[in-house]
């Protein structure tokens, strides 16, 4: 017993130190806290920025309340609507928290935790309860301000919002504790059927809310009463919080740390893929696909053809087996067709700047997704065609999808009939430039026959620069299409003709 309590104390101390470090790091990175070696002037500046930030936060909160009050007073029907809706909204929020706790393990272990913490004889209950606190504080960060806003909206006066915010604290505690309790219980079942069965409570809650069952709406009604200056159901609020916490404590040691570790490592792997998206979007997509497909059965079969036909069949099959990859193609279509619209429709000001930002954030990587898989050296050494031909064949299917979407869009926008063909040619030129720059990005420095630094970025900058100059600024659609096609052809020489 003494040993368990000392281990629990160690778990708490470990997490307090970790949170202290995390909070300090965040505040420091935001410029709010000085580092330990900062000069006196540096410290003064850091405290000044911290005070400035706190003032900004309070001023923003005051602004939100003022706007809400004005809205509530100018439209009194909002007050009645909010009073009616608040119990349902709270019930749905509680259900949302439960769904989140069931969709993935409430406790998440980092890779370091999985290596060093999980193998230790850590009391599971202590670990769960310690991890619960920041999640509850996170829920409070949303629920408390919303309760304040809801109070002003429902009462038309700022007299009760502090009471409503205070009342939302035990409600958030109870709701989050109930959610964690069933989430932790789920992580104690290896059987899929039993894990699925735990999805029943949130859906039963949803049904109870839909049928206006008083029990399901009671916590929300207590909050509504406080929000409009009515009676405070202190007993009910405390009982709700205590019930949630009691259930949480009862289930806090019911989870299997191995299942939690397994799920955490899978999520950690997916997060690491997401981090790699900046450097190789198509490569990161390949890794994500592999992780998802490893648990599925293979559907459809490769035909017994060869050459381009076989690669096209593969392109179709991989999209049928993993339809989620079509989202990437759709995103590429939206980005490129959005650019086309800037050229063919009358635009104002510097709208192209927003488009450039979108291209940087969401590069049209779907055009080189298959090529990224082929360009990896182990597989590339067996593929009997040049990098250029391979990139072109691999881009055919996604390019056809983007071109078809563009054609459909061109038929619906107000464009003279004579302008459709040049606009379509411009879209094809944009696709060509994007394919080359993305292929250069995925091919890697060993395949790119250039000593230029970052030839992929250079070719993208030249291609999109020409497009913005001739297409968007000058609206010289046909000229832009021709120049872009010539530029794309010239850029292909950067891909080594092996």
């Amino acid at each position: 017993m003494a040993r368990t309590s000392s281990t629990s104390a160690a778990v708490v101390a470990f997490h307090l130190r970790r949170w202290d470090h995390a909070v300090g790091r965040w505040l420091f990175s935001l410029g709010f806290l000085p580092d330990r070696d900062a000069s006196t002037l540096g410290r003064i500046y850091a405290y000044y920025t911290f005070l400035l930030g706190a003032f900004w936060l309070l001023a923003s909160w005051g602004g939100v309340l003022t706007l809400t009050l004005q809205a509530s007073r100018s439209a009194p029907q909002l007050q009645a609507a909010m009073r009616t809706a608040l119990p349902t909204l709270f019930g749905l929020s509680a259900m949302g928290l439960a769904v989140l706790a069931l969709a993935r393990s409430p406790i998440t272990l980092s890779a370091e935790d999985a290596s060093y913490l999980a193998p230790c004889p850590v009391p599971r209950r202590s670990l769960a309860l310690v991890r619960f606190v920041p999640s509850w504080l996170g829920a409070l960060g949303f629920i408390v301000p919303l309760a304040g806003v809801a109070s002003v909206l429902a009462s038309g006066t700022p007299a009760h919002y502090l009471a409503a915010m205070a009342a939302s604290v035990p409600l958030a505690l109870g709701a989050q504790a109930f959610a964690w309790a069933i989430g932790l219980r789920r992580m104690g079942f290896a059987s899929r059927a039993r894990r699925m069965a735990l999805w029943a409570p949130p859906f039963l809650l949803l049904a109870a809310i839909a049928f206006r069952v008083p029990f399901a709406l009671a916590p929300g009604r207590w909050l509504t009463a406080v929000a409009i200056g009515g009676r405070v159901a202190t007993g009910g609020l405390l009982a709700f919080a205590a019930g949630g916490v009691a259930l949480l404590i009862a289930f806090a040691s019911s989870y299997d740390l191995t299942l939690v570790t397994d799920e955490s490592l899978r999520r950690s792997f997916l997060r690491s893929i997401a981090a790699g998206r900046r450097y190789s979007p198509a490569g990161a997509a390949q890794q994500k696909k592999a992780a998802a497909l490893s648990r599925r059965r293979a559907r459809f079969r490769l035909p017994s053809s060869s050459g381009t036909a076989l690669l096209l069949a593969r392109a179709a099959i991989v999209r049928l087996r993993y339809p989620a990859s079509l989202w990437g193609t759709l995103r590429t279509a939206v980005v490129l067709i959005g650019g086309l619209d800037l050229a063919v429709l009358p635009t104002r000001g510097n709208a192209w700047l927003a488009w450039v930002l979108i291209v940087m954030l969401f590069p049209p990587s779907a055009l080189a997704e298959d090529y990224a898989a082929d360009a990896r050296p182990f597989l590339r050494q067996f593929l009997p065609m040049s990098a250029l031909r391979l990139a072109a064949v691999d881009a055919l299917l996604p390019a056809a999808i983007v071109a078809a979407a563009g054609l459909v869009e061109l038929l619906f926008i107000p464009l003279p009939a004579a302008g459709v063909l040049p606009a379509f040619l411009l879209l094809m030129a944009l696709i060509a430039v994007s394919t080359v720059s993305q292929a250069l990005r995925e091919a890697g420095p060993d395949v790119v026959a250039s000593r230029l630094p970052a030839p992929d970025l250079l070719s993208a900058a030249v291609g999109y620069g020409l497009f913005i100059w001739l297409g968007v600024a000058e609206h010289a659609v046909m000229a832009a299409a021709v120049v872009l096609l010539i530029a794309a052809a010239a850029m292909t020489s950067l891909l080594r003709p092996d």
Binding site: L302, S304, L310, L311, V318, P377, R380, Q381, F382, P384
Partner: protein, 193 residues
């Protein structure tokens, strides 16, 4: 057999020989031709790295099918079936490689590489992820490949008993020593104390 300490540059040498990595100095020739002039799919050494990559959406068998058909290999089906049988992957040929263990992934990579019948085959740490039976099976396949006129260069720390290389190369401080047996004075993998 290419030997050397961790960090001696064995894998880098293999990557350079396969044309995967640029060389800063010197030159690599294959049959009298600069390596850069030899197309990857037409005579360049084939490298099986220690962590080979695969297509996420294709099964083990479809890897062999895709590459066999694209290369126009005659009789690829029988050869692929035989290789999968040799490496114990027949029961898993309909599964995605991402569901394989590291050893099974390596065996699939070996099957693909051997199916292509390269003139020069480079293997990076092939025995590490393989069990004893698979290591023996691999060695017999490599002997078969050598009998058919192929050359094999293996970079390895471990050498199962069945493995009897014809020549030993030791990479030490950037220099290559050649011999017909491992240096008795220095162990194969002289790792620290």
């Amino acid at each position: 057999m290419l030997l050397g300490r961790n960090g001696a540059g064995k894998s880098t040498l293999l990557r350079c020989l396969a044309g995967w990595q640029r060389i800063d100095r010197g030159s690599i020739s294959l049959g009298g031709r600069p390596l850069r002039e030899v197309q990857p799919h037409a005579g360049r050494p084939v490298l099986v790295p220690d962590t080979p990559s695969f297509y996420a959406e294709l099964t083990a068998w479809e890897h062999l099918q895709l590459l066999g058909q694209l290369r126009g290999l005659r009789g690829w089906k029988d050869a692929a079936d035989r290789l999968l049988e040799v490496f114990g992957l027949t029961a898993h040929k309909g599964a995605y490689p991402s569901s394989f263990s590291r050893g099974m992934q390596y065996k699939l990579a070996l099957s693909i590489a051997l199916l292509m019948q390269p003139r020069v085959l480079l293997l990076d740490e092939p025995f590490g992820p393989l069990d004893a039976d698979s290591a023996t099976a691999l060695w017999h396949e490599l002997e078969r490949h050598a009998r058919d006129g192929g050359a094999v260069l293996i970079a390895a720390h471990q050498m199962p008993e069945v493995v009897k290389p014809h020549r030993f190369l030791r990479l030490l401080d950037g220099h290559l020593e050649v011999g017909d047996k491992p240096d008795a004075e220095r162990p194969l993998a002289p790792e620290g104390p």
